[in-house]
Amino acid sequence: MSDDAGPAEGPPAPLGEVPISIDSVDRRGALKLLGLGALGAVPLMASAKVMDGLVRDIVKGSMYEIQAAHPDTPREFGRIRQWTMVIDLAKCDGCQSQGTPPQCTTACIEGHFAPQPMEWIEVYEAELNGGGTQFIPTPCQQCENPPCVKVCPVGATFPSPEGTVLIDQDRCIGCRICMAACPYDRRFFNWGTPPVPPEAALADYNPDHQTPASRGTVMKCDFCPEMARDGTLPYCIQACPNDAVWYGDLEEDIATNGRTVVKATRLISGNSGYRLKEHLGTRPRVYYLPGHGEDVGRDTHDEGRMPTEWPWIERAEGAVTWTR
């Protein structure tokens, strides 16, 4: 615009009236503009909680402290633990030899009333180099550097002092960013109203066992910390006919498959244990010992595995199920 358009008589037309008291009008105008600016306080206030957390974390250097869940959520943590699982693939034949669905999955579904089609421990069939397949039972990897926890906007998924990553379904808002973030496909969503059998409906909800399930929230393998505290092994390990799954505590350096008790670190290192997608830096607490069921007589080319079932679904009234 040109600068030489002289000191004209203000803007044209509607503004014909001469302001009576320029000062008072302008002060009011300015104040109201400021009032408009006060609108800006809305997002600021909204983020006050978040900013508060940020400042606190920086000052205390507690960025890695637990972003624990709702204070009302009943929770009893035992001592400091690092629950771990060691899965011996040489002993896993996907329950082919006994002609049943994978027993770990079935027992988990029975124990947790995991809604169909959730398989908190899922037995994947992966191709081997040179042909044939191996079975990989996959629970939640309980990462030490969990991508799901990092992205959760409300702290509904959180790491516990026992080395598990848990979900508070009472707080979960169902945004599903954790499912996008999990690199192991280990998170499941209650797309509909999940089937709850009568016996599960009475359970006191607790993130340690996640029962009863509720619609619009995320669920996953919780590593059965309650059972471990009570001195029993998780459902999947109890059910494994080949004793292929070991459960233990890296803190105490001990592991058991229900039959033998061994030093966990020796079990892992002595059998060339590895973790899934190690390069991602998630540091899972689930270790695998290489194999394809050869210890229980499975050939790499053995085919056919029974599909997973949800037998208790029939007992749940008006059950809604979906596919994965």
């Binding site: 803007p11 037309a13 800006g40 409300v154 707080r171 808002i173 960013i177 979906w322």
Partner: protein, 470 residues
């Protein structure tokens, strides 16, 4: 001066006509939009009852059309503020008739886009948890903060420059509209008297908002891209995502602005104000961003396709050759190359050509958002068969309702607010009469089209009159 007054009066009557004269076609259109919205509301009520079970999203492809709509609408919200702020900052002398419409698109698209996140939530009734337990580490929280800030800023940036026009409506339409609108005008005009000092204050406010809003707008779609880029997924966890999203946002924003401008121009006979020049300049802006998008896409897909890691190979194949190939190639050829070609060929360098390019771009950018969301989730993480996703009728209904509400709010806004920036246009016209060399205007436009924003000069919405007065 006489001609100026005539021009000004004609502008006022043409603008107020849109507000005052309501034909039966308007009511038909409004009715249509209400029906589409109503269907969407009904379908959402069903979703509220049954959960997200009624969609086709499942564990493996856990985001779909809703998140696509979210990204798309937040994208087109960049029409407004960013474009009008860039044009203001670069003192593009042809911007005045464009800005108001652009700013309305921004505010409305933001409202619609943000609601799609809530629609996508499994437990929408727990929305307040975001404020009660918000964690600053989560990309979703970054989004909540960025979008609420942007919404606030754009509402201010929309309403502040509208004050003089609202004052004009307040004074001129006092007998012609009902009590509600009179109250609206009186309230929002903030006792505007049009004194030089008020103009000065307003000018300052607009300049400040303009300077604030450019970085906010850039940050918003960057943060939206981070929802995807902050995951460990092939095709998503790339540093180019921020650039791709922001460029795409402005790209689709300009396109939406062109389409809505064309519609309003047709209906309200604003040919005198929204001239071929405006469409062409916006078309050049579109072509420039199209070229930039091509560059960004080559960067992204060449690195992925050249290295071809295992998961990358799957992502590459489904996009270039398999399930999503039609969408992808339509996006590349129709949506990115299309507008560039249309603007390069002299024969299509017309209003019709620009509008055609804009429609192509909007379509292509919607498809791009869709395949980014879906293909990223479709790449198998473990040894399982890739999942499939196709939105259900219910999802499409709610999606359509989003567009209907977007159109509805604009349609209603026309009946309340001045959709042309009367005072700024008058000012611009005044300057033009005073004899600004035409080349300079062209130069500014070329700068804008070329570099996105050229802000080396300290920008101010300089009113010649006010400069003299101060």
């Amino acid at each position: 001066m006489d001609t100026l007054t005539n021009w000004h009066e004609r502008l006022i009557s043409k603008t107020t006509r849109a507000t005052l004269v309501t034909t039966y076609k308007y009511w038909l259109w409004l009715g249509f939009l209400i029906v589409v919205t109503g269907n969407g509301v009904f379908q959402y009520w069903k979703q509220w009852q049954d959960g997200l079970y009624v969609t086709d999203m499942r564990d493996r492809i856990s985001w779909g059309l809703y998140i696509t709509a979210f990204v798309f609408f937040i994208g087109i919200s960049h029409a407004g503020t960013l474009i009008s702020a860039i044009l203001r900052a670069s003192k593009a002398s042809w911007r005045a008739p464009v800005t108001r419409i652009a700013e309305f698109i921004t505010a409305i698209a933001l409202l619609v886009g943000a609601s799609f996140v809530v629609i996508d939530m499994g437990r929408p009734e727990r929305i307040l948890n975001v404020y009660l337990f918000g964690r600053w580490q989560s990309p979703i929280m970054w989004d909540v903060m960025a979008i609420t800030t942007y919404l606030t800023a754009s509402i201010i940036y929309l309403s502040a420059p509208m004050i003089p026009d609202l004052a004009l409506y307040r004074d001129r339409l006092v007998d012609k509209v009902g009590a509600v609108r009179n109250i609206i005008y009186r309230t929002l005009a903030l006792d505007w008297k049009g004194s030089p000092k008020q103009y000065k204050l307003l000018g300052r406010a607009i300049t400040i908002m303009m300077l604030i809003i450019i970085p906010i707008a850039v940050s918003v779609h960057t943060v939206v891209s981070w929802i995807f880029a902050m995951t460990l997924r092939v095709g998503w966890d790339t540093s180019i995502f921020g650039v791709l999203f922001v460029a795409g946002a402005i790209f689709s924003g300009v396109a939406t602005l062109i389409v809505i401008m064309a519609i309003l121009r047709r209906i309200y006979h604003w040919e005198e104000y929204l001239t071929e020049k405006h469409f062409l300049y916006l078309g050049y802006l579109l072509a420039a961003f199209g070229a930039f998008m091509i560059y960004v896409n080559i960067n992204e897909y060449l690195t992925e396709g050249f290295n071809l890691e295992e998961a990358g190979a799957f992502a590459f194949r489904q996009l270039f050759l398999e399930d999503f190939a039609i969408m992808f190639w339509f996006y590349i050829i129709g949506g990115l190359l299309g507008p560039v070609v249309l603007m390069l060929v002299p024969r299509t360098r017309t209003i019709a050509g620009v509008v055609a390019a804009a429609i192509l771009v909007d379509l292509a950018m919607f498809l791009e958002r869709y395949f980014i969301v879906v293909t990223g989730l479709r790449v198998p993480l473990m040894p399982y068969e890739p999942a499939s996703y196709g939105p259900t009728f219910l999802e499409w209904s709610i999606f359509a309702a989003g567009f209907a509400i977007f159109a509805l709010l604009i349609t209603v806004a026309i009946k309340i607010f001045p959709m042309l920036a009367i005072w700024e246009m008058t000012e611009e016209h005044e300057a033009a009469i005073a004899g600004e060399p035409a080349e300079e205007a062209l130069m500014t436009a070329a700068e804008v089209a070329g570099s996105g924003a050229s802000t080396e000069r300290s920008p101010s919405p300089s009113r010649p009159a006010e400069e003299g007065a101060s």
